[in-house]
């Protein structure tokens, strides 16, 4: 196991010349073609771009779900390009929260158990007490023992937000968190996401197609063909 490589953390996210290629040698596809990005602590960034532009792949690389093919990725001062799969998993604990479009709750566990999982994995005290508080904070105090299949889409996404926030992460990644929800539910989820981010003082990087949502962020970054093409405050 490598010793985690730490740098002076003046930025929550610092990516330099990041590339990502997938597939075998014969049929390799370049997804990211040299992305540079810096995101300060306690800020919010919207990532816009057409389908296939590399948004989700960039987020996967930044969240340590995918290994970059080249370049440097510093997350909270940790060099993610130097870590293996298990070290990345440990690096996420208590540092990174992730919210996905398709919720990805564990179908065999209740809402409370789903939220408690990252707390238990991070070895934090009283995982179930904390999970309950977080679920109450997202307005699901009455749904603790429900399974994902017994919850609506909006409720499932609230559980996912509670799960992402419960361990008090420094950085939150959200990949089209309202993509599977109707308009009014989506708005409520976005409000909740920003409210919880503010409460934690965390950095938020959110992928969206919604310009309204993007306007809520401190900064908007646009991507095309694996490049960052525009960055506006």
């Amino acid at each position: 196991m490598h010793a985690p490589v730490t740098h002076k953390a003046d930025m929550a996210i610092r990516a330099a010349n990041v590339t990502l290629s997938l597939g075998s040698k014969d049929a390799s596809v370049s997804i990211l073609r040299g992305v540079d990005l810096e995101v300060p602590y306690d800020s919010s960034v919207a990532l816009l771009g057409p389908s296939g532009s590399g948004k989700s792949s960039l987020m996967a690389v930044l969240a340590g779900l995918e290994q970059a093919s080249g370049g440097t990725v510093l997350i909270d001062g940790l060099d993610f390009t130097k870590l293996d799969e298990d070290e990345l998993a440990r690096a996420r604990r208590g540092r990174i929260g992730i919210v996905l479009q398709a919720f990805h709750l564990l179908p065999t566990m209740t809402a409370l158990e789903n939220v408690a999982i990252p707390l238990e994995l991070a070895g934090l005290d009283d995982p179930f007490g904390r999970a309950q508080s977080e679920l109450e904070a997202v307005g699901l105090g009455h749904r603790l023992t429900h399974y994902p299949s017994q919850l609506s889409g909006g409720e499932q996404q609230r559980v996912a937000i509670a799960r992402a926030m419960a361990a008090g992460p420094k950085i939150i990644f959200a990949d089209e968190p309202t993509g599977n929800l109707d308009g009014s539910t989506g708005t409520a989820i976005v409000d909740l996401l920003f409210e919880r981010r503010a409460a934690l003082g965390a950095t938020l990087l959110i992928i969206t197609h919604d310009p309204e949502l993007a306007r809520k962020c401190d900064r908007v970054i646009s991507m095309q063909d694996g490049h960052v093409v525009e960055s506006a405050a």
């Binding site: 340590g64 799969e85 070290e87 604990r93 996905l100 564990l106 999982i117 990252p118 994995l121 399974y147």
Partner: protein, 836 residues
Amino acid sequence: MSLSLAAIWRIARRDLSARIRGLRLLAICLFLGVATLAAIGSLTAGIADELSRRGQSILGGDVEIGIAQREATQAEMAAMRKAGAVSQTIRLRAMAIGSQIGGDSLLAELKAVDNVYPHYGALTLREGGIAKAPAKDEIYIGPTLSERLNIDTGETVRFGEATFKVAGIIAEEPDRLGEGFTLGPVAIINMLSLPDTGLIQPGSMYEAKYRIKLSADEDAAAVAKTLEAQFPSAGWDITDRSNGAPGTRRFIERMGQFLTLVGLAALVIAGIGVGNGVSSYLTSKRASIATLKVTGADSGTIFRIYMLQILAVAAGAIIAGLAVGSVMPMVIGWVAGDILPVAPGFNLHPLPLFVSAVYGLLIAIAFALPPLARARNLPAAGLFRAIVEGNARIDQRSAIWVIAAIGAIITLAVVTAREPLFSLAFIGAAFGLLLLLTGIAWLLRFIALRLPRPKAPLPRLALANLHRPGAQTQALVVALGLGLTLFVTLAAIQTSINNEIKNSVPDRAPSFFALDIPREGAAQFTQMVQQADPKATINMIPALRGTIVEYGGQRVDQLEELPDGAWILNGDRGLTYSGALPKGSEIVAGNWWPANYKGPALVSLEAEAAESLGVSVGDSLTISLLGVEIPAKIASLRTVKWDNFGLNYVMVFSPGSLDAAPHNMVATLTVSKPAERILAKSIPPAFPSSSLIEVGEVTAQITILLSQMAQAIAAAASIAILAGIAVLVGAIAAARQSRIYDSVIMKMLGSTRRQILGAQALEYGILAAVLGLLSLLLGMFAAYYVVVEIFDFSFAPDYSILALTLVGGAGLTFMLGIVGSLPILAARPSEALRSL
């Protein structure tokens, strides 16, 4: 930082509680494997315990000396008495005749016992109480004799010239097992009554047994050896308590060998089921595993969570298997009844149960680790795109664990086996079979990938299903190959034994065997038979017993050990003399003597027996007949057809050479059905010292024995088949899941159900066609081994039934494959899409 075991278990339990069904293939296979092993281990331990506990009573003493057609000489008796207390019994076949006038008769085993009998165990009567030898003129009879002749206690029964009063019905004869195969029910009289029956005449067929009781600290085998050395040419059949019932032990050894085969087969099949079960369970858990990784679980945590789940389910299955396996001997004892030589009681046998549990655990680890090791390396990015696992390599540490577990299984199988080489060979063959099937699966994928793409979409889909990444071809080929092989094996074993049963009754078997016909009564006997049926066929020959004392110039008592296969030198053998070549014989060397030959003694020897002795035409052969040595010259060698129920002997002497020795005649009678009934009533009273054996009864007994054996073999083999079916169903169910997605999409695009089923039929058809021939060959080889090598029957399977079994098995596989898809295929496309 790694999580505590308690925290891991909490997560594992929560994840498992809702999806325990996913591990049911693992549970079923482990349960069947462990239950089979525990049942076999407990059963054989129970029988072995019982046999060794009753070793002395089964033999009736510590050392037994059997002598045919004569009683021990004074010198022999003195030697035996010097060794210990001696009990004598004399056993012979005789007709029991009912007391009523014109009453029925039945062939029985008459046993005369002295007042010491039995040295060990207890002779018990149905009326209660332990009995010693009956009083003079009294008799104890077996329950079958009582039922068949309708005689009860207090009534009378006649044997030979003597009439006995029935003093009790026998409940248990302590040395019954040691007596071996008997043709009729037993009847016990006092030794003092035997002369009154007039059944013991010079030349009569009877066996005297002398059981010697030693003091507790004496070595029975050593005593037996010393006694045998004192009388090397006495023709004794000597046994000690360590081998009380050689026939029973042979049966137990054969059955034990077969059951080991079944147990090991169940174990290997269970292993494959465990591997498939865990693999498909973890495939269904991919999203959960990736989600856990997203939330911070490292591969070690993932590994521990799912290992704990697997071990928890495995422990439940093992405990259930042990519980069922431990009570099975009692159930088998109850169901099998008389098939088992001794009834195993309900005793827990900790060692076989422990060994079965260890096997179960090792199998769970060895076969669950590879899919688990692959799952631990599933990247978190698996949530974002469909990941094709392919043949991901497992890490070195897991590989070492797998090898260690397999090594431990092999070691355990060899260390605990009665025949380690046999177990090792079987495990080697099983792994060879798995390798072969894996190779075939690889070849099938390789060829399917390189074949030109069919233009029609459904055949294209069927072909693609065989080779596409993530295809279930590997698991399906192994499960289907194994399943079809097992079906063929069972069918070949069953049809072979059925044919054995059919062939054991020749089409033209005689109606009766008649033994001990007095030589002077032969003419009267023939006359009676011809009166009953003028068209009767009577084949009557002299019957004598003698011991070979010299062959080719070599004295038998000077041999250090008997040549291989020379059973003919063991004790005394049946022999005859004849002017004509006996029916069913064919001369292969030398010449048969003229019918009116009057010269020095000549002998014709059966060819295989001659080969075992290393003698040929022109060599000398001397026999001892009632203590008189008769030298002869080998005139010819013959092959003999033994299975035609005719009369034949290994040694046939020329006329005039043995005539002077006292002897009786034996005969086969072929008569009409009415004559059979007349003779069954008229012969026994007229020839009370003769035995009349109804061939129909003997063949019925043999048929019953073989049928019971066939049922026992089928029942034991069914366990392996059941495990095989579980594996097959599991593999097909796992493959079906990946088919359902294709089926729904094809349906959405306009395919009919018939077309979709056609594509699946084509895919399974290709697999079945490839594996059919292989399974036929492998199954026949396995069945041949069981039938010929283990049970010593002839291999004669019914090929049309084998073909039907193969087609039926393939059809069953196809049905299993499609039946689960039918609800999806029956639904409207929009509904089907929602169910994905």
